[in-house]
Structures are given as C-alpha cells and as structure tokens.
Subunit: 218 residues, 2 copies
C-alpha cells in the first residue's frame, strides 16, 4: 500500500511533526510557554496543537523546520541547557493526503524516480550555504528512515554524504549522525535531509534531537 511507485496519490502527502521541548531548569513551564509564543508567525502556515507530551505541527516541511528552529532557539538563546526531540514524518500511508502540506519540493505528479543523488546533494548544500546564521550554536542527532522501499540504505547513505559535506560538524554515532553548528544552517540541513532523500511520494520519518548549552558539549 505504500510503494511510492504504485500507490495512487490524490493530493499532497501528509507532512508534520510531534515536537517536545525540554529546558533543564526549574522554571521550565514558563520557558516552554514562552517558546510556544515564538510559533505565532507560523500559525498561518501550520496547524499547531500542544498537549502534555509535546506539540503536533502539520504543514509543509519548509515552515515546519523553521518553526521547530524558532521554538528551539527561543530557549537556547537564553543560555539555559535545552533539548528538543521531534518525530517528523511525510507520506505516511496511514494519514490522508492533505492540501495544507503542499510543497513544490514533494510534487504529487513527480516521476517515481527522484532526481540523481548528485543533483539532490548539490541543491541541499546550496540551501544550507544560503541560510543566515543566528548566533546560537547547537548540536543535533538525527536518524532518517525511508520506509517501504527496498533501497532504504542507499538513500540513508546519500543523506550521510550530504551531511558530511554540509560544513556542519558531522560525526557518525550508532543508529544516528550528529551535526554541530549555528542553528540557522543547522536546521536548514535538517530540513534538506528530510526533503531531499527518500522518494518524494514515499514514507519518510526522521528521529531528531537537538541540544544547546550542554555543560559537557565538545
């Protein structure tokens, strides 16, 4: 049912995230509520609902990653140790197609075969290079899961080749990769990892943690 070569698409694939913010401070409630205020500019592009385990955001990947960036930076820029954990998904066969999530990066009528890996990596690198710096350093740990296709390790390896060339501090970890750098290009690189790898109509998930101001950061 989820083979991107064969399933019928009736509209843009469903895109969104479950995002949790963890300020390591006694006044975490005020910090979380303050950071959620930083999402205000994104509420036109995204459907946003918060519960006790996190915030659900539904909408196109570009504002989605920008909103996660702003949520995280709102706490990180105060200097407190903070982590964010997000489960990000596109094209899950269990979700309906949704016009709220439309983006030219994931065209409904695309050829089933994505562009050549070299072209996707070059495009992703150009977008990272163009992202403005925000002056807030951070570290990210990400795992990308292109689901349902037989070639998932090829797409993971292509994504890792992009991350290594991104100019952000890359290191492999078991089950994941880590990136370190300014939050502006860092979140742009995370968005590209999510958008440029895995079939445009495929089911792709990302498991992401971001951390700032750790007293043990390398």
């Amino acid at each position: 049912m989820d083979d991107p070569d064969t399933r019928a698409l009736e509209g843009p694939v469903f895109v969104g995230a479950r995002v949790a913010l963890y300020p390591m401070a006694d006044d975490y409630v005020d910090r979380i509520l303050g950071a959620i205020g930083a999402l205000a500019p994104w509420r036109e592009s995204l459907t946003i609902d918060t519960d006790d385990l996190g915030t659900t955001m539904i909408g196109p990947p570009e504002p989605l990653f920008a909103a996660m960036r702003d949520l995280f930076v709102a706490v990180a820029e105060t200097g407190v140790h903070v982590a964010m954990a997000a489960t990000i998904s596109r094209g899950c066969p269990g979700e309906p197609c949704d016009s709220r999530c439309a983006t030219p990066r994931l065209p409904v009528d695309a050829s089933p075969a994505p562009p050549p890996v070299e072209d996707r990596i070059a495009g992703a690198l150009a977008r990272v290079a163009a992202a403005p710096a925000l002056g807030v350093p951070a570290a990210a740990q990400l795992s990308l899961y292109p689901l349902g296709a037989g070639h998932h390790m090829d797409e993971i390896e292509a994504c890792i080749a992009f991350l290594k060339a991104s100019g952000l501090g890359f290191a492999p970890r078991h089950f994941s990769s880590t990136l370190r750098g300014d939050s502006g290009p860092l979140f742009e690189a995370l968005a590209e990892a999510f958008l440029a790898f895995g079939a445009p109509q495929g089911h792709v998930a990302m498991d992401l943690k971001v951390s700032a101001n750790s007293p043990t950061a390398v």
Copy 2:
C-alpha cells in the same frame, strides 16, 4: 542488502540504543549522573558509553529496555518532571553482527517468516501482564519503523493492535502512539513492541519518548 528474506546472517543482529535523559530542574547534572549510576547492574550485559548528547547502549533487547527503565525511573521516582528520548535499533545493515546482542527472541536461524501475528500478540500481552509494577507512573510516545520490507504498515498495525490490548492507556497520535501506566509494565510493553513486530532478522527502529511528573499530564 537488507531484505531479511535474503541477506546472509553471520551472527546475532546488532541491537542497541542512543538514550538521552532530560530532568527539567536546575540540578539536572547531578540528577543525570545519579541516574547513570542506576545502570551499574546492567554493565555486564550491555556496553554503555556516555557523551554530551546521550548514552549509547549495545546488547540484547531484554536488558536494554530494563536498563532504560531503571535510568528513567531513577529520576522519575524523585517527583521531578523528567523526559527520556531514545533511538533504538536492531538489525541495521550498516552495523556488523555482534555476539554481545544475542537473544533467543531474534534467532539467527529463524525461518524468514515470523510467527503468526495472533501468536506474537498473545505472547507480548502475557509478558506485559507478568511485569511487576514499580509504583512510578509514566507516559510514553513511540513510533515503530520496520524498514526495508514491503509490508511495513502491516507490522505497524499489528503492533498497534497489541498496544491497544495491553491494558496500558493507549491513544493514537499523529506519527506515533501514546501509552500511559506504571513504568514496570510500560517498559515491558515497549520492549515487546520492539521485539515482536518486524522480521526477526529485519532492520527495525523505534523512536521513543517517555515522560513523568508533567504538570499538564492527563
């Protein structure tokens, strides 16, 4: 390369997790270091290394989930709001086979076809029912990713059927499921979700968050 029906296995599949603990308190450093002390009984079964983004644990799934439970409960039982985020993986084709990870639950010489879904669900429910309560309530948000096989949504749906029947408070969320209950059976249910669904030799990942003592918990 990762089709569980065809790839040659030279030993037990690689199993492990990247685990991060987030106590929402000014004294988070002492709380994290104290909780890492709770891992001492598991260092014979697991290879454990901590860095600034989290702790890597390599070894069989049974002590792995028990160690994550003890790490989490060590902070949660003090009453402070705490979250844990874990990336758990088995059978990743990018990792070598590893005798440290052997478990009869993931036999190397198993038939490629796992047992019938009904049998796997019944076995998982029996293990959850037998798990001792710890008196520490928690909420979990999990996403299971059986990778590389064409039937991944069937396995996800079987896992959800198990979770719904587990006796733990189940609710669907976008991209994930939530469970609520005592940490003892809760972590047993998480271990079963990871072990009983997806091919025994397949590549299966879990994106897990656990939370306790949230002031907004339902």
